[in-house]
């Protein structure tokens, strides 16, 4: 069973309504001051992905989905890892509240019809489902609600997940989307890393999680 000291952060990605960055380097910026929903589509279109289901997702799922794509798309190990050896662990503070409001608007006027397609997105772990479907991830998948990004809490959960599931790789991080703003930071955590990649990888520990979350490194 892997110990926490044997787990590495091999990649990390940030997304918000202003830019998408990979390992702290901006790869797509919102130069036209587009609204979040339009910026998400811009990033999707420039990603080379062809996945029409993207368009029906809410901003929370879109933010997580596109971030997970950039997090993993260059990883050879990711492509060959077993389906049950990969997992997803996500935290946020407001759950799916923005979509909750939007769903509520569809049924609050008298005699109006509640939207089934919006209702589905009123569960935060739907974004995990979207990521699992696209990446064929069948391992542990958990969504935690926490007041704010807490490296200790993330570490404690990662330790359990890697140890009790013998996972090879985990998409882990923070994804909030509320009031047309998104804040996603995802880490690709793995226990098998190539030596020649050692310059670009980080040990999984509290200070690295905090530094990378703040995009300082």
């Amino acid at each position: 069973m892997p110990k926490l000291s044997e787990i590495y952060i091999s990649n990390w990605v940030h997304f918000n309504e202003k830019e998408m960055s990979l390992k702290g380097v901006p790869i797509h910026q919102n130069q036209t001051d587009s609204e979040l929903k339009d910026f998400l589509v811009e990033v999707y279109k420039s990603s080379g992905l062809s996945y029409p289901k993207f368009y029906k997702m809410d901003n929370l799922s879109k933010s997580a989905f596109i971030s997970a794509h950039y997090l993993t798309h260059e990883s050879e190990v990711w492509k060959v890892s077993g389906e049950s050896k990969k997992g997803v662990l996500i935290f946020n503070s407001v759950s799916s509240l923005e979509t909750d409001y939007n769903f509520h608007k569809t049924y609050s006027p008298k005699d109006s019809i509640p939207s089934p397609s919006l209702f589905v997105y009123t569960l935060p772990n739907i974004l995990i489902g979207e990521i699992c479907i696209y990446h064929k991830i069948k391992g542990e998948n958990l969504f935690f609600i926490s007041e704010s990004f807490d490296a200790d809490e993330i570490l404690a959960q990662c330790e359990q997940i890697f140890e009790f599931n013998a996972l090879d790789q985990l998409i882990c991080g923070w994804v909030d989307s509320f009031e047309s703003k998104s804040n996603a930071t995802l880490f690709l955590m793995e226990r098998k890393v190539k030596q020649n990649e050692s310059a670009a990888i980080k040990k999984l520990n509290k200070s690295n999680l905090e530094l990378l979350y703040l995009n300082k490194n």
């Binding site: 389906e83 049950s84 997803v88 503070s93 407001v94 759950s95 509240l97 909750d100 409001y101 769903f103 509520h104 049924y107 609050s108 019809i113 509640p114 939207s115 089934p116 209702f119 589905v120 009123t122 569960l123 935060p124 772990n125 739907i126 995990i128 489902g129 979207e130 699992c132 479907i133 990446h135 064929k136 991830i137 069948k138 391992g139 542990e140 998948n141 958990l142 969504f143 935690f144 609600i145 926490s146 007041e147 807490d150 809490e153 404690a156 959960q157 330790e159 359990q160 140890e163 009790f164 599931n165």
Partner: protein, 385 residues
């Protein structure tokens, strides 16, 4: 390191204690009844709803009912019950409290002026904050929100923390409410307008139910002689709101839960339980998927029930409230009828309990599946101590 059940409490439409709930289930009662609330649904519907005035009467001697939302009161009622039991110091730093909920205080959205509670209270994290303030805890209270597996997954996570010796005790509280918001299930055509009938060939959808239930876990085998064995959480990677057609995700969860229980050195040998308390929401597809999974595993002759016919689908509370009733079944050597079940679905045969009966269970399997493609499975055993 073994993890044992030390205490539990159940608050539902059937009663305010676990014993009251179980006694009423044994005598064939259901908390589900017909309601006419036009802001919920235009037509009368069946649900297991907790009367808030009665809840207030039960809570008013240890809190001010006007200061807390309905769901918070339900959670704090359980916290108070645990405090009164004297079995565990919930403010001890070696005690973990973990909540499971899909929607928290979402009912406020349809109350005038958010019930006067303010929009911060709509955030799911506010539920943890309310418990933290009430108990005077210094540490934050995590909330697991994994659709309908939330409660069972929270128990599995709590057990791991104890196994790792990070905590001495864990309190898992699952909670959710029926509200106008949950009419979304009707928009998905998942709601039945009759009392729900899990696994019945004529099943046509879910009923919803209010509940908050708490289970206390610890490293000492005291009081209940029930041990939590292996658990596992998986994903179908198939569809966000429909179950897999093959049951593969649920099968994976059960297989890995069995391996995590260390029954056998042979990883291919999956432990067959005496009794399965399955998810059984009473939708066509969920129950069909479970039947396929249990048939594939060779479990179709195991005594099986769903408890949704007693309380409705209690969402984030379901995994906790149903695990508690399964534990009571093991302790009292009684398996409960799968309420609402009449006719076998011959397309997917299973051994569904059509009436409550005396039966000694040493090994129970609890499962759950939910939107987002998630599945959870946990084995429980009776100890002979």
């Amino acid at each position: 390191m073994s993890v044992y059940v030390q205490h539990y409490n159940t608050l539902s439409s059937l009663g305010f204690t676990a014993q009251e709930n179980f006694d009423r289930m044994k005598s064939g009662h259901s908390g589900i009844s017909q309601h006419q609330k036009e802001n919920y649904l235009a037509n009368p519907f069946y649900a297991g709803i907790i009367n808030e005035e009665i809840l207030n009467q039960h809570c008013s001697y240890f809190l001010d009912p006007n200061q807390y939302t309905k769901l918070e009161k339900m959670v704090l009622f359980n916290i108070h019950n645990i405090q009164q039991s004297g079995l565990v110091d919930i403010n001890n730093e070696k005690t973990l409290i973990i909540l499971s909920s899909t929607k928290g205080n979402i009912d406020l959205l349809d109350q005038t002026d958010l019930g006067g509670f303010g929009k911060e209270r709509l955030k799911l994290s506010a539920l943890g904050k309310a418990v933290q303030i009430f108990t005077g805890q210094s540490k934050k209270i995590p909330i697991l929100s994994n659709a309908c597996i939330s409660g069972l997954a929270a128990i599995i996570i709590a057990k791991r923390y104890l196994q790792k010796e990070i905590y001495d005790n864990a309190v898992v509280i699952g909670c959710d409410l029926v509200s106008p918001f949950t009419k979304g299930f009707n928009s998905l055509r998942a709601l039945s307008f009759n009392p729900c009938a899990p696994y019945d060939k004529n099943r046509d959808g879910i009923n919803l139910g209010d509940a908050a239930a708490a289970i206390v876990l610890g490293k000492e085998n005291k009081g209940h002689s029930i041990e939590l064995l292996g658990g596992h959480v998986s994903n179908d990677a198939n569809h966000i709101s429909g179950p897999s057609r093959t049951g593969e995700g649920l099968i994976l969860a059960i297989q890995q839960a069995s391996r995590n229980s260390n029954f056998s050195k042979d990883a291919n040998l999956i432990a067959k339980p005496d009794y399965i308390n399955a998810h059984g929401t009473a939708t066509l597809f969920n129950d069909g998927m479970e039947a396929i999974a249990f048939n594939t595993l060779g479990f179709s002759d195991c005594q099986t029930n769903s408890m949704k016919g007693f309380w409705g689908h209690t969402l984030g509370a379901a995994g906790v409230i149903e695990t508690i009733a399964s534990i009571q079944s093991m302790e009292q050597n009684i398996l409960l009828e799968s309420k609402g079940f009449k006719d076998q679905d011959f397309e997917h045969p299973m051994n569904i309990l059509s009436k409550s009966q005396n039966f000694e269970t040493n090994l129970c399997l609890k499962t759950a599946s939910g939107f987002g493609g998630c599945n959870a499975a946990l084995y429980l055993s009776k100890t002979n101590a």
